[in-house]
Symmetry: C2
Subunit: 127 residues, 2 copies
């Protein structure tokens, strides 16, 4: 499919369709970074298969593939901590997605706002 482009800020942004994505790595899964709209805070990383990306497009809410439960997963379906999509970006290799989202409640199953609440010990910084 030919890509369309538009101007945003100073640079051209390509618009891709789902069929442009490269699902070859990791048995049909793409890593998906969820970033909070506005704050830029990184909330979590999960995985999406083709069906999850399509459901995300259709509904406007973040869907993923649960590797542990082996099922399509609407984020917040049981907890209510849904992620409303504001845009989906694709990387240069077309094998990673970035969901920009409006997060309801905490993103992490532990109750933390973000799943990234731990630091790696780092000699040059900690000492």
């Amino acid at each position: 499919m030919p890509n369309t482009t538009f101007e945003k800020s100073e640079k051209r942004i390509e618009i891709l369709s789902v069929s442009d994505l490269d699902f070859e790595n990791f048995s049909g899964l793409l890593p998906v970074i969820a970033q909070e709209h506005g704050s830029g805070r990184i909330l979590m990383l999960a995985y999406a298969n083709l069906e999850a990306v399509r459901k995300t497009q259709e509904t406007g809410y973040a869907h993923y593939w649960s590797r542990s439960r082996k099922t399509l997963w609407k984020k917040g379906a049981t907890s209510g901590h849904v992620q409303q999509i504001t845009e989906v970006l694709v990387d240069c290799d077309k094998d990673t997605l970035l969901y920009k989202v409006i997060q309801t409640g905490p993103a992490c199953h532990t109750g933390a706002k973000s799943c990234f609440y731990r630091k790696l010990h780092f000699e040059t910084i900690e000492n």
Copy 2:
């Protein structure tokens, strides 16, 4: 190894060591999100094995595992577009890293500042 904690803002942050990380998924590789210090912009996603994480700790510069070249890779070693680490965060499952970095030059091999310069077509937003 017992974890140490300290107060940062209102919440406790656990400090992990490399031996706490879970390298079981994806044949010993962890996905690593690189986020620009200050702006919060997401620059790229790459992968790290144990050696890459250790080199990152030792040198203070982002190292990854190149899946295509099957080799340890210091980001910017040839281009000069290095990533100086300000902190490394770990997610709740201990299987994803977040490098916060000071990026020299563009992060993407295409010359773009960020690898996420494409958008996925999205009916509810584009139309």
